[in-house]
């Protein structure tokens, strides 16, 4: 037995030494930083990546024709040096920047732009963002398989691309700054095939240096990056598989610079109560609204009075307390920092007696029974319980259906729908900072079909027309008018009350003492958890 033990110990030691990799570089080394995440990075393919974790990494590796001023939601030209919009708002002509190279050394041309758009739209790519390019002429033909090219994308010369839309689309420039329209080199995509997401090659500020599946991803500075003065860091190491609580401890130990998943809800008060840690916290707003949907196509929520009553029954201040004040109560679908948000709008005030009265008028004096679906990840079930209690106070008995996120989504988008859903954990965070982004898929008629994201099954055709009219105001000079038009659309939505807007979540992120740069870079509205291109070390 002793020899057996000895042998196993020896075998074990050998295996251990074979499997060991150099200990992760400490955060303090040079001008490179360490960021942690709990979950695997799903993919770095810009046509496929669609979660907030890989969004910002993809933005560090690739570029689009358009870009944002760091730390803001203001558009600026990216790979395009300049652009022109035709008077009817349907033709966009982009002049490409000189001297932009992919990480493999090849110069980027207009061919790459056309190839990249078509790749995203091609049904074989199975891009979850293909629909964003839906206004380009020829989209339907290519999605339907009757064309292999986008007829709306024309190469005028190697440095000029003309994109023709099938309808005026004021959001098109924002879409050009979204990862689904980022520019990829054809030869690299073809070389890697379906694994391009593991071997990303772009024009971005960082290039892939190492990726050990499930462990770490290392990005190295692209010295040939086209923008002067960026990136400021020499490299970023993402360590994967770290519990948020553990990441927080490591930030305190100086081993980690930014906990990518933020401050876990259970630790929030402790961190904010500790002066040493609280100074490392950066607070910001995000383009997010948490809401309750009511199925407007089925009794009892097909009755406007019932939906209004529910709007009045929910005590939003208390729900904000439950999440330690990490949000502000909402009264309309758009978050306050979004253009189109209606200042001074009050929505439905918390009024239990008023709610009871409306329910009685709708013929539900004794209340009714219903179901509230919720994602089973903390703190969502606790929030749902608060909603349940508020509903009980006006006589509505809601039973909680606490399920995995994918199952809640499936229930909401099924043909029959779900009576009520608390959107937390699956809630809408804007893909780009534009008011239309909160309407189309989640409140418009198109999303109300089976499989859509409009869980309230809400469809008001008059509002759909108003929304289309607002999006036809392409001229940047009409921005204020367009925002006001969108404000009217959302006021119209609130009159029909398909949702209870509950709160706009704030974002809290942390950075180690040695991290520098403007606070705004860490709460950048389009880069979570931070703008990797512009943050720096002190």
């Amino acid at each position: 037995m002793t020899s057996l033990l000895k042998r196993s110990a020896a075998a074990f030691a050998i295996t251990a030494s074979l499997l060991s990799v150099p200990a992760a570089a400490l955060a303090q080394d040079g001008n490179a930083i360490t960021v942690t995440y709990k979950d695997d990075i799903a993919t770095l393919d810009p046509a496929i990546g669609y979660d907030w974790q890989n969004f910002s990494m993809i933005k560090a590796i690739f570029d689009g024709l358009m870009d944002y001023e760091p730390g803001t939601a203001t558009l600026r030209p990216g790979l395009a040096e300049s652009y022109e919009i035709s008077p009817d708002g349907k033709v966009f002509t982009f002049k490409l920047r000189d001297g932009v190279q992919f990480h493999n050394g090849r110069a980027m041309t207009a061919e790459d732009v056309k190839y990249s758009f078509e790749r995203t739209v091609n049904p074989a790519t199975q891009s979850p963002g293909a629909g964003f390019l839906g206004s380009i002429e020829g989209f339907d033909a290519m999605q339907g398989g009757t064309a292999t090219e986008l007829s709306g994308v024309r190469i005028l010369d190697p440095k000029t691309v003309e994109v023709t839309l099938s309808r005026p689309d004021a959001t098109f420039l924002s879409v050009m700054a979204l990862n689904f329209s980022f520019i990829v080199p054809k030869e690299e995509v073809e070389k890697s095939g379906a694994d391009f997401g593991r071997n990303p090659v772009g024009t971005g500020a960082f290039k892939l240096a190492e990726w050990t599946l499930g462990q770490r991803l290392v990005l190295a500075k692209n010295a040939d990056y086209y923008r002067e003065g960026a990136p400021k860091l020499d490299g970023i190491t993402f360590e994967i598989g770290q519990e948020p609580v553990v990441s927080l401890l490591r930030v305190q130990n100086g081993e980690v610079d930014v906990p990518g998943d933020g401050i876990p809800p259970a630790k929030f008060r402790e961190v904010m109560g500790d002066p040493g840690q609280a100074t490392q916290v950066v607070e910001g707003v995000q383009l997010h609204t948490g809401y309750i949907t009511m199925n407007t196509k089925a009794a009892p929520f097909d009755d406007l009075k019932v939906r209004q009553a529910v709007n009045m029954a929910i005590n939003k201040d208390r729900i904000v307390q439950i999440i330690n004040g990490r949000a502000t109560p909402a009264n309309q679908p758009l978050p306050p920092t979004m253009p189109g948000y209606v200042e001074g709008f009050e929505g439905y005030r918390y009024d239990v007696e008023g709610a009871k009265k409306l329910l009685a008028e709708a013929g539900h004096e004794g209340g009714f029974e219903t179901e509230l679906f919720v994602a089973n990840v903390d703190p969502q079930p606790r929030i749902a319980q608060a909603i349940q209690q508020d509903l009980a106070a006006v006589g509505i008995k809601a039973s909680l259906q606490s399920l995995a996120q994918a199952n809640v989504i499936a229930a909401g988008s099924s043909a029959e729908g779900a009576p009520m859903i608390w959107s937390g954990g699956m809630a809408w965070i804007a893909d780009f900072p534009d008011p239309s982004n909160f309407y189309g898929p989640i409140l418009g008629c198109a999303g109300a079909a089976e499989g859509g994201w409009n869980w309230a099954k809400y469809c008001n055709e008059a509002l759909d027309e108003k929304a289309a009219a607002a999006d036809a105001m392409v001229d940047p000079g009409q921005a204020a008018e367009r925002a006001a038009a969108w404000g009217e659309v959302y006021k119209g939505v609130m009159a029909d009350a398909p949702w209870v807007p509950v709160f706009n979540e704030k974002r809290y992120t942390m950075r180690s003492a040695r991290m520098g740069g403007d606070d705004a870079l860490y709460i950048d509205p389009v880069n979570t958890p931070m703008n990797y291109r512009y943050v720096e070390t002190k």
Partner: protein, 306 residues
């Protein structure tokens, strides 16, 4: 022996086939639509239907299952719906970490459990025996999540002896292996104690004592080899226990093994990964049990495999 092995391998294939069928059926029944997950929130119903057809998800259950088996035989576990990578590659990349952790945990539980069991048997009825058995009871009952966090807090955060989670060096391995091993150590301690108590009652031990051998020699040279046999045969069965344990322990310690992969896939309802990890775990459990049975005749010549 060869016939026995052939029969057992045949049985193993049948078991795995059963596991695959049940898992596949359960995942098929889940009310989540992979095509919709892939298509994203901007997709029209036609786009979703197109993806469903591309993935063959519109086919009847048996056709889908047969196609899965066909690919499986060629070593193809499919591609993850969300990561779009080959499942086999994802599992393969993480398997070494899980195997290393399991090996370390087995050593840990044997070292701890056998020592505790032996001491308790020798000191049977005394206070130290009771203390050891209560300890083993606690380690068996303690949830691994709690044990893991406790060890992390005390030895990594407070004392700073070990790194706070992660992977790469021997120091990283100690706490997760201990967390996983402590549970098994409790079982081994109890088994070892009762087995040792039985052996110490045997006549040959009395004879040895009568010959005037030293107590230590009796214990290590004469009693231990016999007492340890039934205990060691349990290791194969442990693998099933570990497979469930690593899901929790790997998540707590950020250990990049297949348990963590499974946990993420379950949260994201990434069916091909769940399916793949289940099958790989089933293979490990079946092989572990087979190995345990094959080893038994070597440690106890009275047992013959037929």
């Amino acid at each position: 022996m060869a016939i026995y092995l052939a029969r057992r391998l045949f049985q193993a294939v049948l078991i795995l086939l059963g596991v695959s069928l049940v898992t596949f059926a359960l995942l098929y029944l889940l009310p989540a639509d992979p095509a919709r997950q892939i298509a994203g929130r901007t997709a029209s119903a036609a786009q979703v239907a197109g993806i469903r057809t591309q993935l063959g998800l519109d086919q009847p259950f048996l056709v889908q299952y047969a196609r899965y088996l066909g690919n499986l035989v060629q070593g193809d576990l499919g591609r993850s719906y969300l990561q779009r990578s080959e499942v086999a590659a994802l599992i393969w990349a993480r398997l070494p970490a899980s195997l290393l952790l399991m090996l370390a945990a087995i050593l840990c539980e044997l070292a701890l459990g056998l020592t505790m069991g032996m001491l308790a048997a020798v000191r049977r009825g005394r206070a130290s025996d009771h203390a050891l058995m209560v300890t083993s009871f606690v380690t068996v009952s303690a949830p691994q999540f709690v044990v893991g966090l406790l060890l992390l807090y005390v030895f990594a955060v407070r004392l700073g002896w070990f790194p706070i989670g992660g992977y790469g060096t021997f120091a990283h391995l100690v706490l997760p292996a201990l967390t996983l091993g402590i549970l098994g150590a409790g079982w081994y301690a109890r088994m070892m104690r009762s087995s040792m108590v039985d052996v110490l009652r045997q006549d040959y031990i009395r004879t040895a004592r009568a010959k005037g051998l030293r107590r230590w020699t009796i214990l290590v040279r004469h009693a231990l080899p016999n007492a340890i046999l039934p205990v060691v045969a349990m290791i194969g069965i442990d693998i099933g226990l570990f497979m469930s344990g690593i899901v929790v322990v790997e998540s707590v310690f950020g250990w990049p093994g297949i348990g963590q992969l499974a946990w993420q896939a379950i949260q994201r309802v990434d069916l091909p990964i769940i399916m793949g990890v289940t099958l790989v775990s089933a293979v490990a459990i079946v092989l572990g049990n087979l190995l345990a049975d094959l080893v038994t005749p070597f440690v106890d010549p009275r047992i013959k495999l037929k």
